[in-house]
Symmetry: C2
Subunit: 318 residues, 2 copies
């Protein structure tokens, strides 16, 4: 498994998996089936892991940490289900999505169920402040999703708009995981801020690399259809960079008029330009910022894990 390389936390993440599965219950058989499918299709549990690791820098309150970690992972699952409705996606992590298997109607309410479960888990352990933190993150995710939807097929999306969008879509939940973990451990305000920024920056890099994979990877290796984003009018950094900085920008704009038919040609333009290198460079800049931000924690064994995780974000090929 992914966490084999981190013996210091591997066991706890394996134990946590059982706890997470046991939180995912419903008396309605179809909901139970849908959320079990999703839970079992895996995922690396990066958000819970970040929460646990950042909580290890101070007084480790296992019960509180696990409850927060489960809540955030369940929330992440809820957003995946609703995301797949928007994207009309059939595959997620190589498995059929809830909406493909059970229909959009079930997907809407299965997602709602998980959203509610998030708060149900939190209601048991979280403080008022932690609840507010989580609900703020979710509201921003929703706002980001709708912004992304509104920006579709808009060739005038700015870099700023793109970075704001991936912040909402991905980075804020990474940031929230770290902030909640560090907060639970009773760290100083400055340390919490540093770890929260670490989370945000690796989240930005994570999404940049994902957006890059949309062009460089075959669909089978990432378990979802290739070129999904631009064929649906969602323009990521490789597209924006080529549009604005390359001599092929005008040609690309024309091809994007009919993205499905021109999909192969669009990909060739993007890969033949320096757009993917540029995107990777920006991702690596974020990783460097992330590592810089937690320099003050050097010496602690969990600092090494965070540094290694940051490197993996940009060196992964999955």
């Amino acid at each position: 498994m992914f966490w084999d390389r981190f013996p210091l936390i591997k066991e706890e993440i394996i134990e946590f998996e059982d706890y997470l599965q046991s939180s995912l219950v419903s008396r309605q058989p179809l909901i139970q089936e849908a959320i079990c499918d999703l839970a079992k299709s895996g995922g690396k549990r990066v958000r819970p892991a970040l929460l646990m690791i950042t909580a290890k820098f101070g007084e480790y309150k296992k019960k509180e940490v696990w409850s927060l970690a489960a809540a955030l992972e369940v929330l992440h699952m809820a957003t995946l289900i609703h995301d797949d409705i928007i994207d009309d996606a059939n595959l997620r992590r190589g498995s059929q999505t809830v909406q493909a298997k059970y229909g959009k109607d079930v997907a809407v309410f299965a997602g709602d169920y998980l959203f509610t479960l998030t708060f149900d888990i939190l209601a048991g352990e979280a403080t008022q402040q932690q609840l507010k933190q989580v609900s703020k993150v979710i509201r921003q995710i929703c706002e980001g999703e709708i912004q992304q939807h509104q920006d579709r097929y808009n060739l005038d999306v700015t870099y700023k708009g793109y970075f704001k969008r991936i912040k909402s879509k991905t980075a804020l939940l990474f940031e929230g995981s770290c902030a909640l973990g560090a907060g639970s451990a009773g760290l100083s305000k400055a340390q919490i801020r540093d770890l929260a920024h670490y989370g945000r920056y690796i989240g930005m890099a994570f999404q940049l690399v994902d957006d890059l994979f949309d062009f460089s990877k075959s669909s089978s290796s990432i378990g979802k259809p290739e070129g999904n984003d631009f064929t649906q009018g969602v323009y990521t950094l490789p597209i924006l960079y080529t549009l604005y900085e390359s001599s092929s920008g005008k040609k690309l704009a024309e091809l994007l008029d009919d993205p499905v038919d021109n999909s192969q040609e669009i990909k060739e333009i993007i890969t033949n330009n320096s757009a993917l290198d540029y995107t990777m460079k920006i991702a690596k800049d974020y990783i460097n910022k992330a590592k810089d931000r937690i320099k003050g924690l050097e010496g602690n064994p969990y600092h090494q894990i965070l540094t290694d995780l940051a490197d993996i974000v940009v060196n992964r090929d999955y």
Copy 2:
């Protein structure tokens, strides 16, 4: 307005409306627009009113009560938005639905946003127990919605299945409003239970009357398309009663094979049988049970409001 007839609480409900509107904020312009549309299209704010009225039977903690009332109304709005996605509905309270105006994608995340806002409002004032109460209600609503979806076009739906479904769909939120109001006022366990049952029973009656209107009312008077339910395979009590108790049951089953084309004939069968009378009788039985349940509170001026409200549920023509 609806509350003109109840001077004892009318002013507070008017004041509360501003508070509710001010809770409905988003920095994302499209979400803001969508939720404003919905909020302004009105509704009688029955759930907040029930919460306030039941809270008047003891020590009235206005700040807590308003926060709970706003949370439940926002939750109700969230379920309406997601409901309309499932039902493919174009009209709600005579106005275009969020999904009809902005598309399903926006509707999914605007609903999620409101779900989250519910918990955000609660995080400020509610106790852990109140949070758990609300999240339990939402989970049951989600389970009920999925059950309803699964039962579509199933001619073997039982009465029991139907009553369970309308309990989840409508009655539990009425029950929750009353339970939270009574709980906040520090009433005895028995009183809280009585008021909660009052809420559940009028909620059951409310949904029964709604289901009856599906056959007896023109679409313009209830602000939504007529005969919506059975054309989508959702069989309510008038249908079930005719199927199981009437000599036209077999004929009806055949007609339901093609409910859209046979819509007029189906309605005639239902209205020419005693199905609507039967449905109204069951609704009135619930209203009597509701009033019985709160007999112990007689003498209190708010008891009169609850009794009058119960009567209105079955005597309304909107």
